[in-house]
Symmetry: C2
Subunit: 316 residues, 2 copies
């Protein structure tokens, strides 16, 4: 097998997209495998098949990522697009080079880090812009909740990954009562405006909820409490959060419903099986890139003339 096999039943962007209307997460089986083709085989063989497919897609994603990056370099003038991550620029401009932003949200142990490692890890780290969001700092709290998010946007030409995001402001903030209801309720519209603005600025947003079951979370937490190389991933507060599972699922369902827009759709990826999760997210990214119809920029110099200059140069 050396070719990327397409999902069955349609592109993953259709199969996994959150449909309009009320969202019922209970109705989505975290162990299901939408789109997985017969070619994957049965039983444990599927895992190896999917891992190989993710590797194959990695090469393809890397090429797409390079074209995205190349377009931005051309626009800024080669050699001048450095110091870039510090210059995340959310200014307007329809002709601006594109950016892609993968937003990852999940319950604890949902596999955000693993997805970054496996899927983003298949791309060139030079063109990645990964940002994690934790509890806001004091400085961040002095600003509106999108302030730190705007500063974390990928620069033109980069593939950004948000490991958690502004959605925590309608998830943790809601369930843990960090703000009053009127405040978190008002945020759905603010988020939709923000994400529409991003689309207008050539930022293609792919929002993914990694959907795990309560039982699977329990097993993964027990692993972190058993394997000494995983103790560092555990925090006693994880169990307090787990105790509020139902409230979090309700908060997720409402966020998916209110903020699943055409400008920035939400996808739910069944994530109890790690190999399926990575395979599905890789396809979502591949399909997103395909939709951008990227290509390498033409030369902005006289190619023949430069070749002649090079040939005629002697070592000084």
């Amino acid at each position: 097998m050396s070719e990327v096999v397409r999902p069955v039943g349609g592109p993953m962007r259709e199969l996994l997209r959150v449909a309009p209307g009320p969202v019922d997460l209970e109705a989505i089986d975290p162990r299901s495998t939408p789109g997985l083709p017969v070619a994957a085989g049965y039983g444990p063989a599927r895992k190896d098949w999917a891992r190989t497919q993710v590797e194959l897609m990695g090469a393809e994603l890397g090429r797409q990522q390079e074209m995205l990056y190349a377009a931005a370099q051309g626009a800024a003038g080669p050699g001048s697009a450095t110091s870039a991550p510090a210059q995340a620029d959310a200014g307007l401009g329809g002709d601006r080079p594109r950016r892609v932003l993968l937003v990852l949200q999940a319950m604890d142990c949902g596999g955000k880090d693993g997805t970054v490692k496996r899927v983003a890890g298949a791309m060139n780290p030079l063109g990645l812009h990964i940002r994690s969001f934790g509890p806001p700092t004091e400085e961040e709290l002095r600003h509106d909740f999108l302030w730190r998010v705007r500063r974390a946007l990928p620069p033109p030409g980069y593939v950004g990954v948000f490991n958690r995001s502004h959605y925590e402001d309608v998830l943790i903030a809601r369930v843990e009562g960090l703000v009053d209801e009127a405040t978190w309720r008002s945020r759905y519209a603010v988020i939709n405006d923000f994400e529409r603005e991003l689309a207008e600025q050539a930022v293609t947003v792919v929002k993914v909820m990694l959907h795990i079951s309560h039982a699977e979370q329990g097993e993964r937490l027990m692993e972190r409490l058993t394997d000494p190389t995983k103790f560092w991933k555990y925090n006693p507060s994880d169990l307090d959060t787990r105790a509020r599972w139902g409230a979090y699922q309700a908060a997720y369902a409402e966020a998916l419903e209110r903020c699943g827009t055409d400008a920035a759709p939400w996808f739910v990826v069944p994530a109890d099986r790690k190999w399926y999760r990575d395979w599905a997210v890789a396809h979502l990214l591949r399909e997103t890139f395909d939709g951008l119809h990227l290509g390498y920029p033409p030369a902005d110099f006289d190619v023949e003339r430069e070749r002649d200059r090079l040939r005629s140069q002697r070592r000084p």
Copy 2:
């Protein structure tokens, strides 16, 4: 072959380290392969061997990187070490979690980007902090030359990569006459003080010059002028820089001599052969990690008690 084979003749950190005293880059053959063991075979077979070895080292580097990261998470309290790249903190503190910073310098086409892709790409992108330095922005020019460098340091627990660095301030700045001689001459001491300060702050700096030949640069430039998928990497000014090859080599030699310190040694990696370059840099990183004697942090909670809590929790 499934084991990492050690270099022959000593660790790469000894074989490639710039010795004290005047540096003669002409005496280092960019096609040489110091440390390459007999196991690599002969002729083209060596390339495959080296690529496989880099992959094997990638898994090892990934483990080391995770331990580095874990130690920082533990120190900051799990779950709180996010938004980290925005918080690069260069404050003092001997007990602070370590950081590793790989500084890459080279002439155009020297392979900086390729090294990032192949060697850094073998690690988890979540724990990487890659920064590229181009011509300083207006804001950067209003500060001293290290200002933007301090802001680009990796946060504790991260592996940083500088794609170009503060060394451009004694290379480009010198050769292109961007500052007067007294200014660039004064910078060697400033850089040495800065790098000693980094060492005291638990930042382990590995400085690598990728050393290519004038002829190899010519071939790679011609490739960029021939393959339309590489046009974007070319800039006509590259040939102007190439015309000053000798002056740049002299500037490199002096930087290597004046700033090769025990706190932050310089390594020269022969880089005409890309497979050797990646193999050598991977070993330099591996040996650097080994020297840090990293381990996973112990649990900072009562493991038995947490397991009991988890077991007794029912789905709400």
